[in-house]
């Protein structure tokens, strides 16, 4: 046995063979890499611009008939007119107000009910089947009843968005509560923390990632439902604008409206991303 002292004289040597001459040396074959898509800058915007350019060219040359699809420039013109005439703000503010109120109420109620289902056996047994049965009901189907229940004013519009955002929030919240690491809860109990403390300091922050991703989903559902909500007696609103454009078959306005919704979706998703980065900074 070579003692440690002996070999430690030889501190820089990598063992007996380093430096030695050998025949038949060949590098090990490389077989790693891949399966990890890396971001390629500018491809995204490039593809987007290319599609728009091709589409514009197709429209101008008549390959794409105006009936099938208006040129992007026409949609942009419709959008510009909206901006210039100040109508954009009118539509947008009406829609945003509905969205904010409906989404806030739906989310707040959804988190409350979701927490109850996540924490109490009775709430889970009684409410979960109801939630599962009501969740998949299409909201447009209920519009005629919503008019009777909530009137044709803001009530029914807000209610549509509220109903649409309530159910996914419930499901995300109780799923989040279920997934909170139970050893953390046991830890809290073992230190004699009160029930309230455990819920407030362990369960809620632990379920927060799931709740926020539920918010992301419910926000996009809310935006999608703007169109359905504004089917009933809405004069202003992006959804109402799209419906009007659709019923007049003004496809340029229709596309402009759809683009506004799409941008609204991106902005809301960005905002929730900020919120996530702030509330979930601990995830690093």
């Amino acid at each position: 046995m070579t003692s440690l002292e002996q070999s430690s004289l030889d501190q820089t040597s990598g063992g007996r063979a380093a430096g030695e001459q050998r025949e038949g040396l060949r590098p090990v074959p490389y077989r790693g890499g891949g399966f990890r898509p890396v971001p390629i800058r500018l491809i995204g915007p490039f593809v987007f611009l290319a599609i728009v350019a091709l589409w514009e060219a197709g429209s101008r040359s008549g390959v794409i008939s105006n009936l099938v699809l208006p040129a992007p420039s026409e949609a942009f013109e419709a959008f510009s007119y909206l901006v210039e005439s100040g109508q954009l703000w009118r539509h947008l503010s009406a829609s945003l107000q509905r969205l904010v109120i409906g989404w806030t109420l739906g989310t707040a109620l959804g988190i409350t009910v979701g927490l109850a289902i996540g924490l109490f056996s009775l709430a889970r047994a009684g409410l979960l089947p109801l939630v599962s049965a009501l969740f998949p009901i299409p909201k447009i189907a209920l519009l005629p009843l919503f008019v009777i229940w909530f009137g044709i004013g803001e009530g029914s519009k807000v209610a549509t968005i509220l109903f649409g955002t309530f159910f996914p929030t419930v499901i995300a919240t109780y799923g989040g509560v279920d997934n909170v690491d139970r050893t953390l809860v046991r830890m809290g109990q073992s230190f004699g923390l009160s029930w309230r403390s455990i819920v407030r300091k362990i369960i809620l922050p632990g379920a927060m990632p799931a709740i926020l991703s539920g918010c992301r989903i419910s926000a996009s559902i809310g935006i999608i439902l703007l169109v359905a909500a504004e089917m009933i007696g809405a004069e202003y609103g992006v959804g109402a604008y799209i419906l009007m454009a659709g019923s007049l078959f003004a496809t340029d306005q229709l596309l402009a409206g759809v683009a506004i919704l799409s941008m609204l979706g991106l902005i809301v998703s960005w905002l929730i991303g900020r919120l996530e980065r702030w509330l979930l900074a601990w995830r690093g």
Partner: protein
Amino acid sequence: AADKITVGALRFTSHAPSFIAFERGYFAEEGLDVTFEYFQAAQPMAVAIASGDVDFGITAISGGLINLAEKGAIKVVGGGLQEEPGVDGQMILVSKAAYDAGVTSPAQLKGKSFGITQTGSSFHYIAHKIADKEGFDRSELTLRPLQKVGAIIGALKTGQIDAWAIVPHIAKPLAEGPEIEAIGMVADYIPAYQVTTVFTSTANTVDKPDLVKRFLAAFSKGAADFNAALIDKTTTEEEAEALVQLLHKYVNNDEPYEKAAPSIRSGAMRINEGAKLNMASIADQLAWFQSEKLVPATVTMELLVDPSFVETD
């Protein structure tokens, strides 16, 4: 103080009397403080009256309206738009493809498809009346519910449906285009067709008959102005122009005036004087709905109409 009321409206020329009555102060003269509630379609307006959100509405008689009347929620109280010989009324349109294939008159519609917005809409009724008069079975006309006027236009332009019928201010520009041809008039199939009616909640007819009377009075004044300027053309051109300008505030207001004015003018149809109601036409429509089992057989004219407010014939 003036009574506050809400009037349901579509941004169509058929609602012109309300707009005129509002702009020219006829409502105010009757002590009515009117706000308009705008709708994209007629059916929700009927529901809104049932729910109490709206006091008065003007629209075609639809299955939804009759069903709400059956539930005791609403009543027809007056007449609106009516088909009349000599005045451009609703037109029957076919796609170019169908036209080229020989559908040059409504008689050839047998076996063709016909666009409607929804089951139980006025389009549905018109289609069946055409089939009845031309003597083929109603089921020989394939109905295509497309929800929205825009969707029907798109489908007709691309030849996906063969035929449709619609009010003139929409029909005329379409027929001038290359994709669509006009082959007949609805008036030839449904004489004295009471296209739209004025209706209100049952509660109003019982508790506030006076309010209903005052509304109809103001509405009638508006209708008289409208008919004089655009149908009978008994006014000066300046006055007609002023009226069109007034209406442009409400109708087609997303288009520049120059573009909107001709379509407002060409779309004008007579509004019943004094909101007179053609009971025979309404009875015929009700009978049709019942024959198609779209409304319960228990609905009677008494449930649907309160004839005490206007002249009937």
